[in-house]
C-alpha cells in the first residue's frame, strides 16, 4: 500500500494493510468489506455444481443466515411451552389427548408433543450448528495467522482516524519512538516500528483475546451440543421406591424402572446396597398461614459398598447423594401402610407395605392391593389412606398431612386380577373390568375402614384384612409412628456432567472476554516541528476494532504518559474535532 496516492477512508486503509481485512468473518459482517461486484458472476445462471455448492455454503455461513436461524430457533421453541411435552409432562399429554380428541392426533403428527426432539426443531439447530462450524473454522485459521502477524503499517494521515491527538516535545525522535514502543509493549500491545517518508512511527495493536474469546465461545457451544446430544447415551436413569427398612442393591433387577442410554452396559453398575433407615418429614406448626406445609424432607440411608462397613448418609431435596457412580435424588415420598391378608383359617396369604400415592397437600393417598393366591378367589383392593381423617361420616378427607388420626378405607373386588396371563400390569392400577365389587361402592357391604392395628373380615367369608401398626408398642393414641413412609428415589448416572460443566465455563468465560476486551490499534508518529528547532510533534491515533467505548480515553492516556515521560513542554495541542466521516465519499 503506497500511502501517497491513498485517499480511501481510514477505516479501509487500516483494514487492508495486514491481510486480515475481515477477520475471515462472514462477508455480511459489519466489520468486513462490502461485497464487491464480483459477486454478480457468482449468482449468474452458469453455476456449475461446485459453484452451486460454494454458493450454498456461503449462504449457510453468512451472518444473515445465522441470525435468521437463531430467530427461527427462538420461535420454534415456543410451541413446546404451549402444549405439554412427553419428555417433561407425559400425564399432561394423556390429559391433552382426552380433552382435545380431534386436535391432539393432528398435533401429534406435527410432533407437537415432542417439540425438542422433533425433526423440524432438530433441523433448525443442526443447520445453525453447521453454519456455526462453517463460520468458526475459517475464523480460527485466520485468527491464528493474525496472532503471528505484525501490527499493520501506520496509516499516512493519522489525523483522519476516529481518535487523534497531538503533543509537542523537545526530544530526540528515536528516543521518543523507543519510549512509545516500550510503553505500549508493556501495556500489552503488540508493536512494530515503521518509517515512511522520514517519519518514524510505532504501530500497536491489542485485544486479540477478544476474537479468541469469541471463537472459544462459539466452539464451546458446539462442544456443549455434542456432549448433551450424545452424552446421555452412556448414562442411565432408574427409579426405585423404598419403604422404611427396605434395602436396595444397585443391580438392574432392583430398579422399578430403568432407562439406559444407547451405549450403556449394565456391567458398569457398582453393586452397592442402600437401606432406607428413616424417611422423615417436618411440617410447619407455628405459622398459621402455612400450617401443615412441609418444610423439610429427609431420607436417612445406610450405604455399603462391597466389603465395607455401611455408612450413614442423608438425601434431601436439593441435596442428592452421590455414591457408587450414581447420583441419588429424593423425588417423592408418602405413606406405605402395611397390609396383611389372612385366609379364613388365619393363615397369612399376603403381607406387604404398599406405597400409597399422595393425591393432595394433606396427603390423602391411594394405593392398590392385589392378592392373587391363597384365597378362594383373587381379590383386589383400592385403598384410600387419610393420615388425619377429618370427617365423622363419609366422604372422608384428610385434614393434616402428618399421622394424627390415620384411617384406611378399602374398596374390595373379587374375580380375575388379569395378572396370570403374564402381561405386565402396573402396581398402581387395578383393572376392575373382570372383577365384582364386594365391599364399598355399590356393593352390599360397606368399604373396609381400619386404623393401625385393626382387623376386619372380608365379605363372603373370604378371610380377613389387617392394617398393621408399624409401632405396636406406642401408647394407644400416639399414632405418630404407626405407618411407615416410603421414599421414591431417582438414580442417575451421567458420565458427561464434567464435560457439560467445562463447556459451560468456556461459554461464559469466552463470552465475557469477547464482549468486554476491547480490540484496538494505536499509532504513535513523530515528526520534526518545522518551526522550532529540535522540537517534535508527536501524533497519537487510535482505531477501534469492534465495540470500544473506551478508545478515546485510552489514546489520551497513552499520549499523556508518553509525553510526560519525554518531558513534553508544550500543553497538548487542541484535540481534533469530531471527524466528518462522510466528507471523503
Amino acid at each position: 500500500m503506497t500511502s501517497s496516492s491513498d485517499d480511501r477512508t481510514p477505516d479501509e486503509r487500516a483494514h487492508d494493510g495486514d491481510g486480515e481485512a475481515n477477520l475471515a468473518r462472514p462477508d455480511d459482517h459489519v466489520d468486513s468489506q462490502a461485497p464487491a461486484s464480483v459477486d454478480d458472476s457468482v449468482t449468474s445462471p452458469k453455476l456449475g455444481f461446485v459453484g452451486w455448492l460454494r454458493w450454498f455454503w456461503r449462504q449457510l455461513t453468512s451472518m444473515r443466515t445465522a441470525l435468521f436461524l437463531l430467530l427461527l430457533l427462538a420461535i420454534a421453541a415456543v410451541p413446546g411451552s404451549l402444549v405439554p411435552q412427553r419428555s417433561s409432562d407425559p400425564n399432561g399429554v394423556t390429559q391433552y389427548f382426552r380433552d382435545n380428541p380431534h386436535l391432539a392426533p393432528f398435533l401429534d403428527k406435527l410432533q407437537a408433543f415432542d417439540v425438542y426432539s422433533s425433526a423440524w426443531f432438530s433441523a433448525i439447530y443442526l443447520l445453525l450448528f453447521i453454519s456455526l462450524i462453517g463460520c468458526v473454522i475459517p475464523r480460527t485459521k485466520h485468527h491464528l495467522e493474525a496472532l503471528r502477524a505484525k501490527p499493520p503499517r501506520t496509516p499516512a494521515r493519522l489525523s483522519r482516524l476516529d481518535v487523534h491527538t497531538e503533543r509537542t516535545a523537545n526530544a530526540d525522535a528515536d528516543a521518543a519512538i523507543e519510549a512509545a514502543r516500550s510503553q505500549l509493549k508493556s501495556a500489552g500491545y503488540r508493536v512494530a516500528l515503521f518509517e515512511s517518508r522520514g517519519e518514524k512511527s510505532v504501530s500497536a495493536e491489542r485485544g486479540y483475546l477478544r476474537e479468541t474469546g469469541n471463537l472459544i465461545f462459539h466452539s464451546a457451544l458446539v462442544g456443549m451440543l455434542i456432549t448433551v446430544g450424545f452424552g446421555s447415551g452412556w448414562g442411565f436413569t432408574g427409579q426405585r421406591v423404598l419403604v422404611e427398612g427396605q434395602t436396595f442393591v444397585n443391580t438392574l433387577s432392583a430398579y422399578d424402572s430403568f432407562n439406559p442410554g444407547r451405549f450403556f452396559s449394565p456391567d458398569a453398575l457398582d453393586p452397592y446396597s442402600l437401606t432406607l433407615d428413616d424417611m422423615s418429614v417436618t411440617y410447619e406448626q407455628k405459622n398459621a398461614k402455612a400450617f401443615g406445609q412441609p418444610i423439610d424432607y429427609l431420607a436417612s440411608v445406610s450405604v455399603s459398598h462391597q466389603g465395607q462397613k455401611p455408612t450413614k448418609q442423608r438425601i434431601k431435596v436439593n441435596e442428592p447423594l452421590r455414591t457408587g457412580g450414581t447420583d441419588i435424588y429424593l423425588l417423592g415420598n408418602g405413606y406405605a401402610p402395611t397390609i396383611t391378608v389372612k385366609d379364613p383359617s388365619g393363615k397369612v396369604v399376603f403381607t406387604d407395605s404398599i406405597p400409597f400415592l399422595p393425591q393432595d397437600p394433606q396427603l390423602t393417598s391411594i394405593g392398590i392391593v392385589k392378592v392373587p393366591d391363597g384365597l378362594a378367589k383373587q381379590i383386589g383392593m383400592i385403598g384410600l389412606f387419610y393420615p388425619t381423617q377429618g370427617a365423622k361420616q363419609p366422604p372422608f378427607f384428610s385434614s393434616y398431612p402428618d399421622l394424627e388420626y390415620p384411617v384406611l378405607t378399602m374398596q374390595v373386588f373379587e374375580g380375575d386380577l388379569g395378572i396370570d396371563k403374564g402381561t405386565p400390569t402396573s402396581v398402581y392400577t387395578l383393572n376392575t373390568d373382570t372383577m365384582t365389587e364386594i365391599a364399598g361402592g355399590k356393593a352390599a357391604s360397606k368399604a373396609l375402614e381400619l386404623m393401625p392395628g385393626q382387623t376386619q373380615q372380608l365379605p363372603n367369608g373370604l378371610g380377613s384384612v389387617t392394617f398393621e401398626n408399624a409401632s405396636p408398642t406406642a401408647s394407644t393414641d400416639d399414632y405418630s409412628q404407626s405407618v411407615s413412609r416410603f421414599a421414591s428415589l431417582d438414580f442417575h448416572h451421567d458420565p458427561t456432567q464434567g464435560w457439560v460443566a467445562l463447556f459451560a465455563a468456556l461459554i461464559l468465560g469466552g463470552l465475557i472476554v469477547s464482549l468486554f476486551i476491547p480490540r484496538r490499534r494505536i499509532w504513535v508518529k513523530v515528526r520534526a516541528d518545522e518551526g522550532r528547532d529540535g522540537a517534535l510533534i508527536i501524533e497519537y491515533a487510535g482505531l477501534a476494532r469492534g465495540e470500544d467505548p473506551g478508545l478515546k480515553a485510552a489514546v489520551t492516556a497513552v499520549a499523556d504518559r508518553h509525553a510526560a515521560g519525554l518531558g513534553a513542554s508544550a500543553p497538548p495541542a487542541a484535540e481534533k474535532p469530531v471527524p466528518e466521516k462522510n466528507s471523503e465519499a
Partner: protein, 332 residues
C-alpha cells in the same frame, strides 16, 4: 406491628413516591418538547446538526463509528437538566430507599432472602431494576428514561401487591437451596439491564424516525426527542447495557441448570420456564448478531432488543402465572 406489616407500609410509600417521581419525569419530558423549539430557532447550527445526524443515520450500517460514544452529546447538552428532572431523580432515590427497606424487612420477617414467591420476586426484581438504573446513571446519563423506569416499576409493584400478596411462609423444600439465592438474584439483575436496554432501544427507534424525517420536526414527541442523544449513540448505549444483561442472563440459565440438576436430577428438561429462559437467551443472541450484521444494524437490531425484553416480561408474568410446569411458586 410485625416486620411484614411495616414492609408493606414501606412498599406502599415507595410506590407513592415513585408515582410522584414519574410525574416529575413526565413534566420534564413535556418541558423538553416545548423547550426545544426555542433552542432550535435560537441556534443556527441546529439545522446543520440535524442534517448531519440524518446523514449519519443513513450510513450507520456501513461505518463502525466509535466517536459517537463521546460522553458529550449535542442534543442532550443543549437541553441540560431541568429542575423537574432533578426532582424526579431525587424522588426516585427516596422511593428506592423506601423500597429497599420494604424488601429488607420482608426478608427479616421471613428469615430468608425475600425472593421466593411472585410477590417477593416482583418486589425484589423491581428494586434491582431501579438500583441498576440509579447506578448506571452515575456513569452514563440515562435520566431521560426515568418515566419509563418508574412507570414500569409502578405497574409491576401495583400488580404484585394487589394480586400476589401472600403472608410470609417458610420455604418449601424444593426452594431451599443456595441456587435460589444466586439464580433468582442474577436473573433479576439481568432483567434490570434488559429493562434499561429496552428503554434505550425504544428511544433509539423514535430518534431514528425523527432523524429520517427532515429537520424541523413538529410533533411533541419529535421535539422532545431532539433533546435526547442521537439514534446512533442511543444504539451504542443500548448495546453496552444489553450485553451486560446478556451475560447475566447466560449465567442465570447456567445457574438454573445447576439447580435443576440438584433438585430434579437433570440439568435441562425443557420445562416451560426453562424453555422461555432459553428463548430469551436466543433472542438476545440474535440481537447481538443483528448488530454485527450488515443491513440489520440500527433499527432492526433495536426491534430485537424490544422483543427480547417483552419476552422477559412475558416470562415473568404470563408464564409464571398461567403456564404449567415444574417451577411452581409458593403462594400462588
Amino acid at each position: 406491628m410485625n416486620f411484614d406489616e411495616i414492609s408493606v407500609i414501606a412498599l406502599y410509600s415507595a410506590m407513592a413516591v415513585y408515582a410522584l417521581a414519574f410525574i416529575f419525569y413526565a413534566v420534564d419530558l413535556a418541558r423538553r418538547s416545548s423547550a426545544v423549539g426555542v433552542v432550535e430557532s435560537a441556534s443556527p447550527v441546529a439545522a446543520d446538526r440535524a442534517a448531519g445526524a440524518q446523514a449519519a443515520g443513513v450510513t450507520t450500517t456501513l461505518v463502525r463509528d466509535t466517536t459517537t460514544l463521546d460522553t458529550t452529546d449535542a442534543g442532550a447538552a443543549r437541553y441540560g437538566r431541568s429542575p423537574s428532572l432533578r426532582i424526579g431523580v431525587a424522588l426516585t432515590v427516596i422511593a428506592w430507599v423506601l423500597h429497599l427497606s420494604a424488601d429488607v424487612l420482608r426478608g427479616v420477617a421471613a428469615g430468608r432472602v425475600p425472593w421466593a414467591n411472585m410477590y417477593e420476586f416482583a418486589m425484589t426484581g423491581t428494586l434491582v431494576i431501579v438500583t441498576v438504573y440509579l447506578i448506571v446513571n452515575i456513569k452514563i446519563d440515562l435520566r431521560f428514561l426515568g418515566t419509563f423506569i418508574t412507570g414500569l416499576v409502578l405497574i409491576l409493584l401495583g400488580l404484585a401487591s394487589v394480586n400476589f400478596y401472600v403472608a410470609v411462609t417458610p420455604l418449601p423444600p424444593a426452594l431451599q437451596s443456595i441456587w435460589l439465592i444466586i439464580h433468582v438474584f442474577v436473573a433479576s439483575t439481568g432483567t434490570g439491564f434488559f429493562a434499561l436496554g429496552f428503554g434505550l432501544s425504544v428511544a433509539q427507534l423514535l430518534q431514528a424516525r425523527r432523524e429520517s424525517i427532515a429537520a424541523g420536526a413538529t410533533s411533541a414527541v419529535q421535539r422532545l426527542m431532539a433533546t435526547l442523544p442521537s439514534a446512533e449513540r442511543l444504539e451504542a448505549l443500548a448495546y453496552r447495557i444489553n450485553i451486560i444483561g446478556f451475560i447475566l442472563w447466560t449465567f442465570t440459565l447456567m445457574a438454573g441448570a445447576i439447580w435443576a440438576e440438584k433438585a430434579w436430577g437433570r440439568y435441562w428438561g425443557w420445562d416451560t420456564k426453562e424453555v422461555w429462559t432459553f428463548i430469551i437467551w436466543v433472542i438476545y443472541a440474535g440481537y447481538i448478531h443483528a448488530r454485527a450484521t450488515r443491513g440489520w444494524r440500527g433499527s432492526r437490531a433495536a426491534w430485537l432488543a424490544i422483543i427480547g425484553f417483552s419476552a422477559v416480561m412475558f416470562n415473568f408474568t404470563i408464564v409464571n402465572l398461567f403456564f404449567k410446569g415444574l417451577h411452581a411458586y409458593s403462594g400462588l
